[in-house]
Amino acid sequence: MSALRAEESLLALRQQEELEDLPKEYPLSTSEDEGDSDGERKHQKLLEAISSLDGKNRRKLAERSEASLKVSEFNVSSEGSREKLVLSDLLEPGKTSSSLATVKKQLNRVKSKKTVELPLNKEEVERIHREVAFNKTSQALSKWDPIVLKNRQAEQLVFPLKKEQSAFAPIEHVLSGWKARTPMEQEIFNLLHKNKQPVTDPLLTPVEKASLRAMSLEEAKMRRAELQRARALQSYYEARARREKKIKSKKYHKVLKKGKAKKALKEFEKLQKVSPSAALEELEKIEKARMMERMSLKHQNSGKWAKSKAIMAKYDLEARQALQEQLARNKELTQKLQAASESEEEEEGAEDEDEMLVPDAVNEVRMNADGPNPWMLRNGPGEAEELDIQKDPEQPPEPVAHEASESEGEENPVAEEEMLLKELEERRSLRKKPGLNQDAKPVGRRETKDSSSQEVLSELRALSQKLNKENHRSTKQKVSSARTVLPVQREEAADEEEEPMLLQRPERARTLDELEELGREGCFQDKERPRPAVNGQWLERKPNNQPGAPKEKPKKEQMIDLQNLLSTKSPSVKSLAVPTTVEEWEDEEEKDQRQMIKEAFAGDDVIRDFLKEKREAVEASKPKDVDLTLPGWGEWGGVGLMPSAKKRRRFLIKIPEGPPRKDKNLPNVIINEKRNIHAAAHQVRVLPYPFTHHQQFERTIQTPIGSTWNTQRAFQKLTTPKVVTKPGHIIKPIKAEDVGYRSSSRSDLSVVQRNPKRLSIRHKKQLKKNSVD
């Protein structure tokens, strides 16, 4: 094809060139020719005249001897004039007459044209024809490429390929070709006609016509599409809403709520900038919401969930966190907005001034009891319980002992601390108990002024002084002791035998690590909120604030283990295989050479590498003991807990040593003993063709296709045959119409199917005609 094109283009180019050449050269060449021929002629005449002067050489002009009426143009001879008859000779007489100018021009034009080339020989022509035809055909065939490719790659081909196409002719056409013949049919027809049903022309009922007039087809289509879209959108949103409503995840809803709140806040801020009045209203709303929140017990830790969490909080980090979060939320919700709260603070300040008698520490304790410390917010029962437990006369001696063993050197100060703490807490509980009924009052702080608590206060003051002295010295110990003691204190009596055992490990693991941290943090924490360490709850919360701390510990231990492993693995290699024979090198040169080689290959110790490899191979081939212990089976399990040694011993199955390795006595050889000859007979040796990596192949082999391992649907999908044929159904060769191509010999039907637009136009025409009728 390209050759043909090239030819064509070349031809066109040549023609163009000719065309361009013509106007340039033609006039010029003609005039020149004329001039030339004239000059020649004159020259010739002159020569003749000269020769005739001589007289000798004069030749007679040939004359026509025969007289005839008709003088043939072919018989004109130019003999005697010693030259050929030239075209211009004939034109000589007409030179003067202007009427012959056009003829002359034509003749000149003829003269200037080149001769036609010889036609190519037949074979050449045929060859060109063939080439052109082949190019054309192969181009026509190339349109099948995508279809062929698609069919070759198809997951499944169902033959015969041709699907039953729905009849495309509209119902009116079918009906118009049908006539009622039998009497009954005619009767029915008549009935229908009476009802103005469109059976024959006109095809449309008046109503339909009216509707057609009201709305064009395109418009109707557009409207329908719009409606469809709207409906689809609506259903989509509905489905989404339903789906979101169904989501049970509390976290999701929480996040959603938070997001909404944030959004509201942002909007509020915007509003503040734009219109303060509206913002004020908004603020009122918020305030109201806050009041409602205060009134309700929603986030007060009194709900069912909160209670259960409170119980769980001892063991579960997450539960603790959740509780805390809720409390924070409560705080946040119940806190007054700043504009309103300033005055309150002032009041508070005034109150504080009143109570300057009370030492700072107590003040803080009390303040914590009210507001900022959410743990103190908890209502009577929970705390009372705690206190009860604390007061439990049979306080377990284990924790103390344990603690003592833990911090051996600092035994004395810790003991002191312990005593102090207990005392303080007892006092506090005393103070609280009367305060419980006082809580009902709007201002709960007045309790301090109570006369009953006056003596307590004085004691407290003394205590706090003592504490302040000791504070800097022994924060560390306090912290650790409090941590170790408190959880234990909270244990129920029933669990008491086992608990210490359980708690021992994580606690011990933790303390070592955390002591350092606390040492770092302790001081500035104290500065930040100079709160006495008595506040056991705060200390207990500590791990929550730094969830990373307990997590870090096991990791560190593991790291150490790994390092140990590595260190044991990287040994100093000494073996028989190492050429240990150190000869005496007397020759200096040789020594030098050896040194050089050593230096050159300093980096890669081949022998060591090999030995290492071999050792690894040996290790790998050794049968491993099977450990069947199930952690947590019949005892407590969890992070940092190991099954007991007894159990481990019992469930460890020792595998007997296998036969000695074949390369046992061959230090320089590694013999791979993994290969199983019996299995090899069933294994694929060479990677099959379409796969490029053995892993791909292995994966395909590993995936099961049976219904035992797959769902019914997956099984069906996996086992679909590539080619499906039906017995007795003739499969015709693929047709251009089948795949939506126009074939060379297309039928009218195919055109219609290909071109729905045209059809619609035709359809419209038909409809118009009908409507006119």
């Binding site: 045929e126 024809h129 063939r130 035809a133 082949f134 054309k136 055909t137 192969s138 026509a140 065939l141 190339s142 099948w144 062929v148 069919n151 081909l157 033959f159 007979a681 069933h682 294994q683 694929v684 040796r685 099959p688 395909t700 082999i701 296709i705 049976g706 219904s707 099984f715 069906q716 996996l718 086992t719 679909t720 045959p721 080619v723 044929t725 039906k726 017995p727 007795g728 159904h729 003739i730 499969i731 015709k732 060769p733 693929i734 047709k735 251009a736 060379s744 010999s745």
Partner: protein, 302 residues
């Protein structure tokens, strides 16, 4: 039966006709002999005749998809393609040995397979005739006829070695071989249009009907049977590369003549290959080109 029937229409030609084929859609047929003639059924003179060279043409076949295309093979070892609309031959490829017949793929317009005297079949893409797309080897004697399955995925070939073989289009080796004790040189073979059966005619004047898939159950299958069949088929496909599965799938009983011929030819082929490898090994690198099996069979295109 037994009555002599008069033909409806007789055409007296000037030369011998050696092959005939009917157009797939229109009332037109083509004959071959000295040249390829296209006839209308209603006329006594050909619509057009096309020729390229002077050898006698042994068979002519219409393309089932692009129905204006024809392929023919002549005794001077060539395959010629014609275009009926332009009344001109298109391309000619000359192979090593004579091609007995060709068959077009009914699903892929430009693919055809040629049954050759050199025991092989060649699948060509008609747009690039210089190298065959695939060389199908397994017969041990000249291949006399070939026919495509209507699905276009396989074809069957009849051979002078008294067997017929079924080849997948994209594989070089046959999937199946059919033979019986009494079947002689198989001259012609056809695949039924529902792709379930194969018919062959052989020298001992019998026509035989074979199942295209020998192990397929005939008749109606229940859905469970169908599922089981599909599953088994898939398993076979999955484990086809495993040595034992492969052996079972490939194992066929063969008559002694064919078996010994195969051995012999294998030895010959291996010897050739060995020689080539040796030559490659002992010559300057790059001086001896590595030629694939397909390329060794490439003919000259005109």
């Amino acid at each position: 039966f037994g009555e002599e029937e008069e033909p409806l229409h007789t055409i007296l030609g000037k030369t011998v006709y050696t092959g005939i084929d009917h157009h797939w859609k229109e009332a037109v047929f083509a004959t071959c002999g000295q040249q390829v003639d296209i006839w209308d059924e209603q006329r006594t003179n050909p619509i057009c005749s096309m020729t390229w060279g002077f050898d006698s043409i042994s068979s002519v076949k219409f393309n089932p998809i692009e129905t204006f295309l024809l392929g023919s093979c002549a005794s001077d070892r060539n395959i010629v393609l014609y275009d009926m609309r332009q009344a001109t031959p298109l391309k000619k490829v000359i192979l090593d040995m004579r091609t007995n017949t060709i068959c077009w793929n009914p699903m892929e317009a430009f693919i055809f397979t040629a049954a050759n005297e050199d025991y092989n079949l060649y699948t060509f893409d008609m747009r690039a005739l210089d190298t065959p797309v695939m060389v199908h080897m397994d017969h041990v004697s000249a291949v006399l006829d070939v026919d495509y399955s209507p699905t276009g995925k396989e074809f069957v070939s009849a051979s002078f070695d008294k067997s017929i073989r079924i080849f997948p289009v994209d594989k070089g080796r046959s999937r199946e071989v059919y033979h019986t004790k009494r079947m002689q040189h198989v001259i012609c073979v056809k695949w039924t249009p529902d792709s379930k059966y194969i018919m062959c005619g052989s020298d001992e004047m019998n026509i035989r009907l074979w199942k295209a898939n020998a192990s397929e159950k005939l008749g109606v299958l229940t859905s469970r049977e169908k599922a089981a069949k599909d599953y088994n088929q898939k398993l076979k496909e999955k484990f086809q590369h495993h040595p034992h599965t492969k052996r079972i799938a490939r194992h066929r009983h063969l008559p002694k003549s064919i078996y010994s011929q195969i051995q012999e030819q294998r030895i010959m082929r291996e010897a050739r290959r060995r020689k080539e490898v040796n030559r490659l090994k002992h010559s300057k690198p790059g001086s001896v080109p590595i030629v694939s099996e397909r390329e060794t069979h490439s003919g000259s295109v005109k």
